[in-house]
């Protein structure tokens, strides 16, 4: 690993060559992935990535390079090359000193992955498989509908060391694991899927906290519900969105448009709206990268800034954006601990961490009881958004038709679309049952772990795309 003095030398070159800020991001990550189909372990892959990302700014221009040739000669050469690309005036630099700073970890680990034998990890997967396989009593008609069961196990141990020309030097170790089960139900040549994939920022102790069988059961439950479901209705209607992963609606409809990545360029529907009312009074939203051991938590972000709890919306009023260092310069704002990247091959930018809507007063059952006709989107799939226009879409994994205040039947194939800024004003009931779920969020700085969350909510009107128009 690079010595402190070597880091100082490389960073100095970024300034000498013309930058007014330089940053070095070192990463050494070990990961393992195992996949199982129908109880048989099919693939085991493990390994290590290790490299350095160098970044320099001149005012609001940025250059980035990464390499995994970690020799000091190559790093100096790379620093010189990208520093020059800034076209700043080369200037001699006083040597400067990095002051190392340690923070108490927000991702403490009890059982590091390397002390656990692979067969124990395999056993966890087998339990998830068994949970899915035995969800419907054997010999029952439903049991025959269960087709394939895919289980995957992921562990990642990411060590980063981040230094910059403000003299900052810090490190962080993020260990995360996730168990995913996907069940395919089949009948009459049709297939439907159900999945469940909890993850956490811990070591192997995660599997003492959850019952892997329940992960399999949940996936089987959804697949079996959906295979015999009718197609979803289409058109404008009230939509009740279930808690936990339902929070993907806020993530897509609003969260991405609050990232400085879009805001700084004037390419977000929420530009210039801080202090203004952008949502119904009952809406409170938070992005919190500090929640101990949460999936989207880190001790410092990928720019070395300690993570923090950012209030995004308070009683319907926009309180602030998620800001990284570069966009902080562009916006004249402070970084919010939101600079994130998948790994050293990406320059960081502002991203969400654990983002959720705060609980309200309503009991979930009451929300459904108050809905004359609509869709109950109990479990959501993923989604996407265009921050410039606020147009979002996301898929409903498990949906039900609500009629006269009651859930009457399961429906499949629904998608929800709308414009984020419009939907926030239409959230008219918020439940008291906040939970968070795990997702992978993809954007320009790669695919990163992020929690989404919410209590059960109702949107008074949303376009449901389905096949029964």
């Amino acid at each position: 690993m690079l010595q402190k003095q070597e880091m100082e030398e490389v960073l100095s070159i970024l300034l000498e060559a013309g930058g007014d800020f330089g940053e070095l991001f070192f990463e050494d990550t070990r990961s393992a992935e195992m996949s199982m189909i129908d109880g048989k372990l099919e693939k085991v892959n493990s390994g290590r990535i290790c490299g350095i990302g160098l970044r320099a700014f001149l005012n609001t221009n940025a250059v980035y390079a990464y390499t995994n040739d970690l020799s000091i000669e190559n790093l100096k050469g790379t620093a010189r090359r990208i520093g020059k690309a800034l076209k700043g005036l080369p200037k001699p630099q006083e040597p400067f000193i990095l002051n190392e700073k340690h923070y108490e970890t927000k991702l403490p680990v009890l059982l590091p992955f390397e002390i656990i034998e692979k067969r124990e990890k395999k056993h966890v997967m087998q339990m998830a498989n068994e949970g899915a396989r035995t969800y419907a009593p054997s010999g029952s008609a439903l049991a025959d509908l269960i087709g394939q069961i895919e289980v995957s196990y992921l562990e990642k141990d990411q060590y980063v060391r981040i230094a910059n020309t403000d003299g900052m030097l810090t490190e962080d170790r993020r260990r995360r694991t996730r168990l995913t089960t996907r069940v395919i139900a089949a009948e009459n040549g049709q297939k439907e899927t159900g999945s469940s994939s909890p993850g956490y920022g811990t070591g192997f102790e995660f599997y003492n906290l959850i019952d892997p069988r329940e992960v399999g059961q949940e996936a089987a439950r959804i697949a079996l519900r959906m295979i015999r479901a009718d197609y979803a209705p289409a058109g404008m209607m009230p939509v009740v969105i279930g808690n936990g992963f339902g929070g993907v609606i806020f993530h897509e409809a609003c969260g991405h448009s609050l990232e400085a990545t879009s805001v700084a360029k004037g390419a977000s529907v929420f530009c210039g709206k801080v202090g203004q009312k952008i949502a119904n009074d009952c809406v409170n939203a938070v992005d919190d990268g500090t929640i101990p051991n949460a999936w989207g938590t880190s001790t410092v972000d990928d720019e070395g800034t300690p993570t923090q709890r950012n209030q995004l919306i308070e009683n319907g009023i926009l309180k602030g954006y998620l800001v990284d260092r570069l966009n902080a310069r562009k916006m004249g704002a402070n970084p919010t601990g939101s600079g994130r990247r998948e790994n050293y091959t990406y320059a960081p930018t502002s991203r969400m961490s654990n983002t959720f809507l705060m609980p309200g007063q309503s009991i979930p059952e009451e929300i459904i009881a108050n809905t004359e006709r609509g869709l109950y989107a109990k479990t959501m799939g993923g989604g996407s958004v265009q921050p410039t226009t606020g147009e979002f879409n996301f898929a409903v994994l498990e949906g039900y038709l609500i009629e006269k205040g009651r859930v009457v039947k399961p429906v499949r194939g629904a998608t929800l679309i709308g414009k984020g800024h419009e939907v926030l004003e239409k959230i008219d009931m918020i439940g008291n049952d906040l939970t968070r779920s795990q997702g992978m969020c993809g954007s320009i700085s790669g695919s990163i772990p992020a929690d989404v969350g919410q209590p059960t909510i109702r949107v008074s009107e949303l376009l449901v795309g389905g096949r029964n128009a």
Binding site: E33, N61, G189, G465, A469
Partner: protein, 455 residues
Amino acid sequence: MNFETFKNAVFDIAAKKGLKNYELFGMEQREFEINFFEGAIEGYKDASSSGASFKTIVDGKAGMSFTEVWTPETAEKIIDDACENSQQVDASDPEFIYEGNGSYRTFPPFEDRYVKLPVEEKIAYGLEMEKAAKAHHPSIVNIPHCTYFDAAERFYVSNSHGVHLECGREGGGGYLVAVASDGKAAKTGLEFVAQESPVGLDFVTMAQKAAERALKKLGAKSIKSGKYPIILDYNMVGELLSLFSFMINAENVQKGLSLLAGKLHRAIVSPAITIVNEPYIEGGISNIPFDAEGVPTKTLTIVQNGILETFLHRIKTAKKDGVPPTGNATRGRYNQAPAIAPQNLLLRAGPLSLEELMRKMGDGLYITDLQGMHSGANPYSGQLSLAAEGFRIENGKIAYPVEQITIAGNVLELFGKVAGIGSESKLSLPSGNFSVYCPDLYFSEADIAGTESPS
């Protein structure tokens, strides 16, 4: 350490440990990118990385391990890890290392032409395209993304049966997102250009197209829910074909994950449809003479006039089905296990221009954008439920732009309703590590939902 030296170190240790059946897959890559915003360089990326993955097969069971650190210590470590990983595997289908008896098509030599272009020239391209998009119309108010990029990759496959292969490929181009506004609403338009050689890259036309795409969408409104005939823009046909590529993957078929299992030599889509895999397309950026296991790549007719002719195989799946491997093993990066994918998936063009397709359709929708592919399109069930944008077509002509609609259906059912095929197969928006070339397609019917209340 370069790949050759690292490979020698790995192979020496593997032989000493008594391994008989192993492979080292290596990749070196570089990428270069400049992002422009408001006439200045906003971002600049100049990067390289390399890595290798070791695979060994013991009793038919494969174990893998990868590393980006090429030293004698890591050479030993990846071998030990791969051996340990293989012991956990209990899959019943054996894995194989390619024994190397195929012949390889000759490809044009790798010239690394983009790296030779002066950076100043690349900057000029970027500034030019941003300017062209802005100048296209006063309603173009913002260019949030304007990027020049180029990249090169070198692949290595070496194994214990004496196979030692090496090839390089490169590509470059640009993409641009333009935002048009009429003061009430904003609309975005994306366009890109990508090709193997820098010669003839036309950034300005690309930028104008992006601006035009955004501009044309201004004033869009939703429509009533119902069944409509539709024309899908070739880029969107390409996105749907990525679902199809999941279904023709023999690994998915053999595991019962594909809707196409058991459908070989049967009609699966409209007889108008022919789909092939091409390992080489003139100017293409996904061309490669051998696959990730070292098997020669080849032209393969997957669907002929609507009949499913073959699945895509790697060695393991081919042996299981008793057919020759089709050369479709792929690894996006060395840290990924081998999977199956086409190189260039090509849907054969038909006789009609876009205007002729519109005239033939008369009344319907021309859909230019689909959103939510990664969540609203399910490769297992084939179900689609996607946000869409485009144009209302009346009397064979564009009547007005349309937004806030969804399209729902099953991808195979939809491709069963092809009523017309565009006359040019074009490279569609790159996604994943293969290219897709398709024409515009006219479908006789699709389920559309909109926010307008039924009258």
